[in-house]
Amino acid sequence: MPYLVRRVFSSLFLLFGVSLLTFVLVDFAPGEFFDEMRLNPQISVKTIAGLRSQYGLNLPLPVKYLHWLKSVAKGEGGFSFAYNSPAAPIIWQRAQNTLLLTGTATLFAWLIAIPFGIWSAARPGRAPALLAGGTISTLLAIPDLVLALLLLLLAVRSGYFPVGGVVGLDFSQLGPWSKFKDMARHLFLPSLCLTVGFLPMLLSHIRASMVEVLESPFIAAARAHGIPLRRLLLIHALPAAANPLISLFGFSLGILLSSSLVIEGIFGWPGLGQLLIEAILERDFYLVVDAAIFATVFLIAGNLLADTLLYALDPRIRAE
């Protein structure tokens, strides 16, 4: 028990440190949202100064940080200048879109990688293993940017896969089945791209882990007892190979928010990544900070979850 408690505390501490770090960077950043306004001769200096003090931009750093913390506690998370509303709700809404995208992609990636990985580990040197190895190597050489652009081309050429947005413009007027189809068509290409991006890592980890377990003495003993292959793989080998896979799973969860940055930008998917890019271009700092921290929270939480699962499932760790 104390182990988990310690982990939670260190995660919180980490989060605190990260938020402080990002906030310090905000303060040192040259340029801000109102710079554009300054260029406009019609807006007086006094107006800008008034706006700045209204939003607390001229306060010293520690005060700003405390205000922001309070704001986070209230659920507002600071203020977005571009959207002229509290930052947190915007972040949350965009995050949901991202989770839809990455969640689908992660699910499919795992669904493909587990059977494929197990199967290719079970038959080393034969077709499945070679196929797996070849797939991994090929996919590793293709950056997700390139793949995304190619798929974008496909989308534009075929016209069947709409780009930009989660749903079409007439979404609200569609029947439920059409709604589903509409969303699926928007979702298909970006999540395909992400899935392909996740596959090499998942596949190679699963394969490596299974291969290592399959070479161990207790599997040889089980095989000598005549246990059929499928039972051997699923009931004997897989649980033993699970440790690194659980860590991997936690990692997969952790990157749910952050892995789709490029994909969202290219396909116009209105998620957290695209919000980040927009906010950077608009110099909307609170939005940037909140987005970065939110993604970090996920990553830390994912790792924490993995550690917890490992602790719960592996008696060897409890014994330490």
Partner: protein, 345 residues
């Protein structure tokens, strides 16, 4: 696992490609900024040996392209004049006389030669990757080495700090830090800035790996034996610990370079990196964000395809050098690191 063979092809490919971009002034026929307003989005120039009269020329030649007024946006070849290709003409590897253009991979919206821009842009992208890796590795080796060698509180401090850096999603952090810098920076400045930022953010994983190597090397009996002969710390680091650390560092480099190259490309693609008119593979691809370009002008894709052999080459390098220093399959490590310079467990 098979023991990988020395990746001669990969090394050769990398040497050649880096040489090409370094000597872009020679290999590229045109200046990357020179425009030809009459030839926007011209397709790759065809090189002919046989002309309209079925006559064979020894020297390959090209036709000048003219706007096809019926076919909007298209071009036709003006076969009234042949323009021979010259090798080693006026300081460039190849070229033709000034009244025609040889666009090996077409031209962009301003009629700039994409091939030249590819070469000049490669300088930025490829070397941004290399230099950022150098920064990350140097930081990692120094901090990780000190932490592993001197241990105790220094080790604890360094390890906690790396945990903090590794808890952050790398690309997000890169973008966020980029947010806090001025939007428009001169090309030299942005290049150095990107290298510094990427290098500093990515120090954590190399540091952990190096620290592990140093820690285990320090405990070896031969280090103890050398102490018995009166060896100083510096001697031990230099002769016994460093060589081990170097091979790990080298394998790390093979993973980091492509990651950083891609990061620069992505940043420039979204307008946050190197900006016009300086070419980089990222901003060369940025025009593809417009659908009409994406659909009609396939040659604008080439910079994206150029990334693939670079990645392949570095992957081969990593498979070879990483085999001896990093456990597990190379693919696993490479794929994990592609998600950013951090570990899973």
């Amino acid at each position: 696992m098979r023991i990988p063979t020395k990746p001669r092809l990969a090394i050769a490919a990398l040497v050649v490609s880096h040489g090409l971009v370094l000597l872009a002034g020679f290999f590229a026929p045109y200046d990357p900024a020179s425009q030809d307003r009459e030839l926007p989005f011209a397709p790759p120039t065809r090189i002919h040996f046989i002309d309209g009269q079925k006559k064979l020329h020894f020297r390959p030649f090209v036709y000048q392209l003219r706007a096809d007024l019926e076919n909007d946006g298209g071009y036709y070849e003006d076969q009234s004049r042949t323009h021979p290709l010259y090798l080693f003409s006026s300081g460039h590897l190849f070229g033709t006389d000034p009244s025609a253009k040889v666009f090996l991979i077409g031209s962009d919206a301003y009629g700039r030669d994409q091939f030249s821009r590819l070469l000049y842009g490669g300088r930025i992208s490829l070397f941004a990757g290399l230099l950022a890796t150098a920064v990350s590795l140097s930081l990692g080796m120094i901090l990780g080495g000190l932490a592993g060698f001197y241990g105790r509180w220094l080790d604890d401090l360094v390890m906690r700090t790396t945990e903090m850096f590794m808890a952050l999603p790398w690309l997000y952090l890169l973008f966020a830090v980029r947010a806090f810098l001025p939007l428009h920076i001169a090309p030299n400045g942005i290049f150095l800035l990107l290298i510094t930022v990427m290098g500093v953010i990515g120090w954590a994983r190399p540091a952990r790996l190096i620290r592990g190597v140093v820690l285990s090397a320090k405990e070896r009996d031969y280090v103890l034996a050398a102490r018995g002969f009166g060896a100083s710390d510096i001697y031990l680091l230099r002769r016994h610990v460093l060589p081990q650390a170097l091979s790990v560092a080298f394998a790390q480099a093979a993973v980091l370079v492509p990651t950083y190259v891609l990061a620069e490309v992505v940043l420039s693609f979204f307008g946050l990196g190197v900006s016009e008119p300086t070419p980089s593979w990222g901003n060369l691809l940025a025009s593809l964000r417009q659908y009409n370009v994406l659909e009609s002008y396939w040659w604008m894709f080439v910079p994206a395809l150029a990334l693939i052999p670079v990645f392949l080459a570095y992957y081969s390098l990593f498979s070879y050098y990483g085999y001896y220093s990093v456990g597990g399959t190379a693919a696993t490590e490479f794929a994990a690191a592609r998600m950013g310079p951090r570990t899973i467990s």
